[in-house]
């Protein structure tokens, strides 16, 4: 079975908190994705087997939620909010900047597997718009020069073999 022992242990650890087994499906898919960076067709089968659920049930859930990546994603998952407040504050410029710099469109991954770019819907950061979610972290109040600096930083962090976008980076300063 391709589900790692670590993931199994995590799920077993929370099993008692929920009245049904199916309630564990979304946590399990999150954990698999954390572990492998995406959810492969094999992982879906393994999840079904592990929770003793029909594969169809696992698939219908996995395909419903946009956060579950059913295709491999880059090491750095760039999700730019393009909803109203971010759009009013220039998110389109940021999108064009990333498309040009990374030479990919939305929904695509760079050939070297480093970056995936996508549009996101409202990330609840409208007061600090525009916002870019990088893996787990939010980067708020961005403009094009800051974005370029940020991408430079990720480039060098990746080159040094560091993990990007999973800091304990605090959300923006509130008025």
């Amino acid at each position: 079975m391709a589900i790692s022992e670590k993931v199994k242990k995590t799920i077993e650890g929370i099993r008692h908190q929920f009245p049904t087994t199916q309630a564990l499906l979304i946590p399990l898919l999150h954990e698999i994705q954390q572990d492998k960076n995406w959810i492969s067709p094999e992982s879906l089968k393994d999840a079904a087997e592990f929770l003793e659920l029909p594969l169809a049930k696992v698939k219908e859930v996995a395909t419903f939620y946009t956060m579950f990546k059913l295709e491999p994603v880059g090491k750095v998952n760039l999700q730019l909010c393009v909803n109203i407040s971010c759009w009013l504050n220039g998110s389109e410029k940021l999108l064009h900047c990333m498309e040009k710099r990374l030479k990919i469109g939305c929904g695509e991954t760079t050939a070297d597997g480093k970056y995936t770019l996508s549009e996101a819907e409202c990330l609840a950061s409208c007061g600090t718009a525009p916002v870019l979610q990088v893996n787990e972290d939010y980067y708020e109040n961005l403009d094009v020069p800051q974005l370029n600096k940020l991408l430079d930083q990720f480039d060098s962090e990746l080159a040094a073999g560091k993990v990007v976008g999973k800091s304990t980076h605090q959300p923006g300063v509130w008025p």
Partner: protein, 442 residues
């Protein structure tokens, strides 16, 4: 200036910790008081406070709690568990207050939930947090751990016979899960598709058990009500809605952010509080209560910000997300941005919504790109008429908010796009920024 219910200390260092909350913010004193009261007395107090749900619908909280059956039993006569659920799936465009509460004062929400658990006779609560909120989830989980350590959660809370456990559940990126029955399905590990009502969650909620779902801000207001008294809270608001409100102001203002204010101020005053219009530009339109609320024009901003006044003005207070647009904004494009969002987020369960949100997104996109025809405008109204009130949940109604209000209030702008064959703000030959996505929409 009236007292602040929620944001008094949110700019102070370590405000998210339990020690800070206990020392500076009367933390968990309301819980101590509530545990000396009967559950019915707590529900009564919340009823008297006129607290209305802060998630968007504005339903009276005390009444919602009173719908919970006192001693539910299953077919065999065994007692059924009751569940309390916190809706922390904040995602209504323009809304970012729950994120503030979770990161800066998570214990207010937790204390509010424990009190609510006591009031409705539940021993277990779930906090459903949207999946994108990694940092927020960590902060909330840490706060829960702190509360367990201090004996505010778990068995025999503060020596009473009341037991309450709290579990965090992460969503996975679906706007519709903010709808309470979709949230319940998601909490059960299913697709986040809204349920037909009745039965209401108070009868058949999470895992088939009686459940009560409230928003983060709603729970966060409860400790104040119990500690300071319902009367004081009720007096801060209007006749039919107690307390203050967290307004999330974004868009073209100088100081966007969350502002806790009395509800009886006008939209004009609120924009001033948020630093006024950016770059001295003129106001063109404002969305008063999250993306689903119909737009107001610059001439309509003397309306007061409470639930009833906004409803009378044909829009809604919704989630408190105020999106300000200046004169440079093309309303057709703004509406197109919103409709693209709804098209993406429709769960697809009801045909009217699945097809309607798709058609509307296509039509607004087409008009924005100068390819609309005059009959489109009437057709938009017809599609909306076939959506609102025709579906399982209120999502379809929400789609019609920006669609109908933009066409109604800025009709000339739409007609100009059609007659000129291009967006007047950009001129002919402009490549629309969303063109690259066109193929994906077919």
């Amino acid at each position: 200036m009236s007292d602040l219910v929620i944001t008094k200390h949110v700019n102070e260092k370590n405000c998210e910790t339990i020690d800070f909350y206990i020392q500076k913010d009367h933390g968990y004193e309301a819980l101590k008081k509530a545990l000396t009261m009967t559950p019915a007395a707590v529900v009564d107090e919340v009823k008297k406070s006129n607290l209305r749900g802060r998630g968007g619908a504005g339903f009276p909280t005390g009444m919602k709690w009173s719908f919970m059956p006192p001693n539910p039993v299953d077919a065999k006569g065994n007692p059924k568990p009751k569940y309390l659920v916190c809706n922390a799936d904040e995602g209504e465009p323009g809304t970012f207050k729950d994120r503030l509460i979770m990161t800066k004062t998570p214990h207010k929400m937790i204390e509010g939930m424990i009190i609510a658990g006591h009031a409705i006779g539940s021993n277990k609560g779930f906090i459903y947090i949207r999946g994108e909120f990694y940092q927020e989830t960590r902060i909330v989980q840490k706060a829960i751990d702190e509360a367990y350590k201090k004996g505010f959660l778990g068995k025999n809370i503060l020596g009473s016979n009341f037991t309450f456990d709290l579990v965090v559940y992460k969503g996975a990126g679906a706007y519709i899960c903010g709808e309470e029955t979709a949230l319940l399905n998601s909490l059960e590990g299913k697709r986040g598709e809204p349920r037909l009502k009745p039965p209401f969650p108070a009868q058949v909620g999470a895992y088939g058990m009686p459940s009560c779902v409230n928003n983060v801000e709603t729970f966060a207001a409860v400790p104040y009500i119990i500690h300071e008294g319902a009367e004081k809270f009720a007096k801060m608001g209007t006749e039919r809605s107690g307390g203050t409100r967290l307004f999330c102001v974004s868009g073209h203002v100088n100081k966007p952010g969350v502002y806790e204010l009395p509800m009886l101020l006008s939209m004009r005053e609120l924009i001033e509080v948020a630093g006024g219009m950016k770059n001295g530009k003129k106001l063109k339109a404002v969305i008063p209560g999250g993306a689903s609320a119909p737009m107001l024009t610059a001439e309509e901003i003397d309306v007061k910000m409470d639930f009833d006044s906004l409803a009378k003005a044909g829009t809604m207070a919704g989630s408190g997300g105020v999106i300000v647009m200046d004169e440079s904004v093309c309303i057709v494009e703004a509406a197109s941005v919103l409709l693209k969002f709804y098209e993406h987020e429709s769960c697809g369960q009801c045909s009217q919504c699945r097809e309607g949100s798709h058609w509307l997104a296509r039509m607004f996109h087409r008009i924005e790109n100068g390819k609309g025809v005059q009959s489109d405008l009437d057709y938009i109204a017809k599609i909306c008429g076939n959506m609102a009130g025709q579906t399982i949940c209120a999502f379809a109604d929400a789609v019609t908010g920006p669609a109908l209000s933009s066409v109604k209030k800025f009709r000339k702008e739409f007609e100009d796009h059609i007659t000129q064959g291009c967006c007047p703000h950009k001129g002919p030959g402009h490549r629309h920024a969303h063109d690259h996505k066109e193929s994906a929409h077919v």
